[in-house]
């Protein structure tokens, strides 16, 4: 049968992929993908622990976390749409008038 550690390893792998995407990708939407991947990794972690600890709190927390992530994405997409209106592109690498 599956062990807790297996799920945790998958979660870490997804987490690392998310970090990679955030650091490397320049497209704002892909960066949001990365953030979603990290959030999913965290939720997987939670639910796995909830199964192990065997109480309901982890699952409830996962529900909260999913809802929150969805809310974040909504605002983020709003910001990206404005960025697109302003710059006609969404390459975050080019958004660097604030620096120094």
């Amino acid at each position: 049968m599956n062990q807790l550690i297996d799920f945790v390893i998958i979660s870490i792998a997804l987490f690392s992929i998310g970090i990679y995407g955030l650091v490397v990708k320049r497209n704002a939407i892909r960066m949001i993908f990365s953030i979603e991947i990290i959030a999913n990794a965290a939720n997987l972690n939670l639910v796995a622990f909830s199964r192990h600890v065997h109480n309901v709190e982890g699952q409830v927390f996962a529900l909260f976390s999913i809802a929150i992530a969805a809310a974040e994405v909504a605002v983020a997409l709003g910001i990206i749409i404005i960025a697109y209106r302003l710059y006609k592109q969404i390459d975050v690498h080019e958004f660097r008038s604030l620096k120094g």
């Binding site: 955030l22 650091v23 320049r26 008038s97 620096k99």
Partner: protein
Amino acid sequence: MVDLQGIIGFEGMGINAWLIWILPFVGAALVPAIAKVGNRARNYAAVGFALASALSAATLLPIALDGGQIHSQINWIPILNIYAGTLADSLSILMTNIAAWISFLIFIYSLGYMHGDKNLTRYWFFMLFFIGSMQLIVLSDNLLMVFFGWEGVGLASFALISFWYHDKKKDFVGTPGHYAGGIQMWASPSHAGLKAFLMTKAGDIMMLSGMFLIFGYAGTFGFTELLQDQSWAAEMARSNLLVPAAVLIFGGAIGKSAQFPLNEWLLEAMTGPTPVSALIHAATMVKAGVFLVARIGPLFFAVSALNSSQFFEVVAWVGAITAFLLATQALVNPEIKKVLAYSTGSQIGLMMMGLGIAGLSSSFVDGYTSGFFHLMSHAMFKASLFMGAGAVLHAVGSRFMTDMGGLRGKMKKTFLFMMMAGLSLAAAPFITSGFWSKDAIFASVLESGYQYSWILFAIAVMVSFMTAFYTFRMLGMTFFGNNSKFIQQNESNQHIHEVSAVMWVPFAILAVASIAVGLIGFAFEHQLHEMFTSYLAGTFGIHTELSAAHEVPAESGSGFLGLGELNPMAVTASIGAFALGALLGGLVYMKRVISPEVVSRSIISRAVWKFFFNRWYLNTALYWGAVIGPLAIYRIIWRYFESTIIDGINPGLQGSMTYFSKVIKAGQTGIAQTYLFVFAAGLMIIIMLLFL
């Protein structure tokens, strides 16, 4: 949370003690806002705040008469265990009332005197700020808050001396073209303000170091705390620091009260508007120094009666020297306000002498009472004289007495009340408050048992004689004789007339009060003496062995005209000095039977006159020693050291900082990916740090 109980204190009266000094500050903060409503509202609001402060001061008077005290504290700087508080005892209640009521009268006077000035908002702001700070000095229960008030009055004084900072010629002080030893002897308002600020600051620094010296040993600034646990004094006395610390604090008083050697600023301070001179430079602020000595004197006397006599010796001699020095200069000066300023410094010297002799005598309370009594009576008549002088200036339009003369016909009320106040200053026997207070100082000096008391006594008598002389000289030159050329020339366009009631009533009240106190002078002094006896005994444990002079009325109870207890020698000397001085002054300047020109006939008297007129060359020495010399030295230092060493090091340090800063700036590339990389890598590093 705030301990309201602690503030309210003694039967709910404690809050009044706070209000006395908080109200003027509130008023100062509000005046600029009220000025938006209208000028009239602003003026009345300012006077209203002064009145409110004075009324709260008056509510405390019964406590002083009962010999009670209110001490309320709040925890102010908990880290250092410093409390803020007010201490309303007999001494501070009397002082706060003097300051509050005289301020109130001067505020009313200002309504007339300053009428139409464009910068009145600034004027009221600083006047209220001044009263608040002054009352803070008086009512504070610890040295630190005293110091804050001390700085506050210094600031207000600076701002008000240079109130007319546009430096118009008519606002100057001193005789134009008068040089002494290469130093210009006349000054503009802004120059005078700066001079006052810097000179009193020298005293403040001494006071600050003295305060912290004591704080270092005692761990507290509070007066009552210092008295309760006296181990600090013993420890300081062991390392020979007690007297130096006390003298350092006295340094602050020297600066603020314009005593020798920091006396020079007070004369230039006369560039301020006359109500300012009356309030700050005659009645209140300069008395702060005397008050401080009265506050800490008993403390030092009580904590180590044997070791602190040197401190009181310093106080007495500084007072004596100042009294003599400034009285001589007052003899020859042609400006009416400056004569009064000299006289103020001189009289404060007498007060200091009284307080100093207190610590040197067996009966502390005699000298103490005499000093404080003189403070009270001087506050009344000097404020009155200044306001009267202001009225004269207002009418004539010149600050020189040589430009006046013969004014008694035209300004009857001013003449009358200035005459009353002037008699008080000159100490006319038996009917003026000045006589009784000066006599008390004479008596306490004579009875002190201090080995050099006869020198002090001699100085005091001489000062007294000179005081009478220059007072009559001033009154004579102003009101007697014929109109000067200046008036005659300007008669057509400047119609000299009596000032309005809003101006003469305030100084009339004070002049009448000083005569009224004089009429019951002895009883008054007796009452004061009783009060301070119980105050000193109750608070400081200084018990007075009743001297022979005071024993009689204390037992017989016939206090009213018990002339029997007066010290006959003191009375004789006092009357004699007055009579001689007044006679001479009257003959020369009122009756004008002797011409003042006699002075210039002999070389010696001319030299003396010039010496006095050039202020003993103290101003010259001050400028050479403290301004021109150091500047020259600084230039040399700057040239050889600062340019090579400091400029050599500083850019290196600055350069390296700028370099690091630029490195960080370069790291902040603006690229979000880089930021996220730093974030993630930093997280990893921190995780690794944890597992180390």
